[in-house]
Amino acid sequence: MSSRRSRISDEEIKELISKLQFLLPETRRQGASRASAAKLLKETCNYIESLHREVDDLSDRLTELMATMDIGSAQAEIVRSLLRS
């Protein structure tokens, strides 16, 4: 690790944190001027945990769907939806 890295400026850190803020969904975002770095990081952690849970949940739901129908026959429909998204 170069010595430059250990002198990262507060400005750069601030910028990176505000970039994270914009990745948070509307409901988790706080006023840019009001939120402390700690609060933003906490919200970021909460958001990542909720995304992990969504992956788990969607995996369960896909398992259910795939148990009842052959997704191969839905292939064209799936690809069409993905092209639209």
Partner: protein, 158 residues
């Protein structure tokens, strides 16, 4: 599934840097889904199948970012070691007093693959990319699910 046909229609997407990798994610994930359905027997458990799909989700994320990112490299290592994919969850809701952002960074390090070996600055960069990728994967799974459901209700007559 050739990526050429996917290259139109996404100009308005602010995440254009994910454009090519988004397609890679989709094709990898779909192929995995078809494989999982074909190789799932009646004796395989629901939980087992769900775990395979979940694993495929993280795999397609990791492959789409490839070796470019520290988080994806860490995730690929985990996947190749065949170890169970676990992401820690904060079980207790007991409020720890709000501390400096450095302490929250420790929590964050456990959530982002490869986090423990990243310095603060790197962690913030990698987190942003990881979140972008995660949200893309979630949307992808949602789209696949919606289209399968709607197909089930309105199958196209060939």
């Amino acid at each position: 599934m050739e990526s050429k046909s996917f290259t139109t229609g996404n100009r308005d997407n602010p995440n254009t840097d994910l454009h090519g990798s988004k397609n890679m994610m989709a094709s990898h994930f779909l192929r995995a889904l078809f494989r999982i359905q074909q190789t799932s027997t009646s004796s395989s458990s629901f939980a087992g199948r769900s775990r395979r799909i979940r694993r495929a989700a993280y795999a397609s994320m990791a492959y789409s970012a490839g070796a470019r990112r520290a988080w994806s490299r860490a995730l690929l290592r985990k996947l190749r070691s065949r170890a169970r994919l676990r992401f820690p969850r904060r079980l207790s809701r007991t409020a720890r007093p709000q501390r400096r952002d450095m302490d929250q960074a420790q929590v964050l390090r456990k959530l982002v693959p490869g986090g423990p070996s990243m310095d603060y600055c790197k962690l913030l960069e990698e987190t942003a990319d990881y979140i972008r990728c995660l949200t893309t994967q979630v949307r992808l799974m949602q789209t696949v699910m919606d289209s399968i459901s709607s197909y089930a209700h309105h199958p196209m007559i060939p």
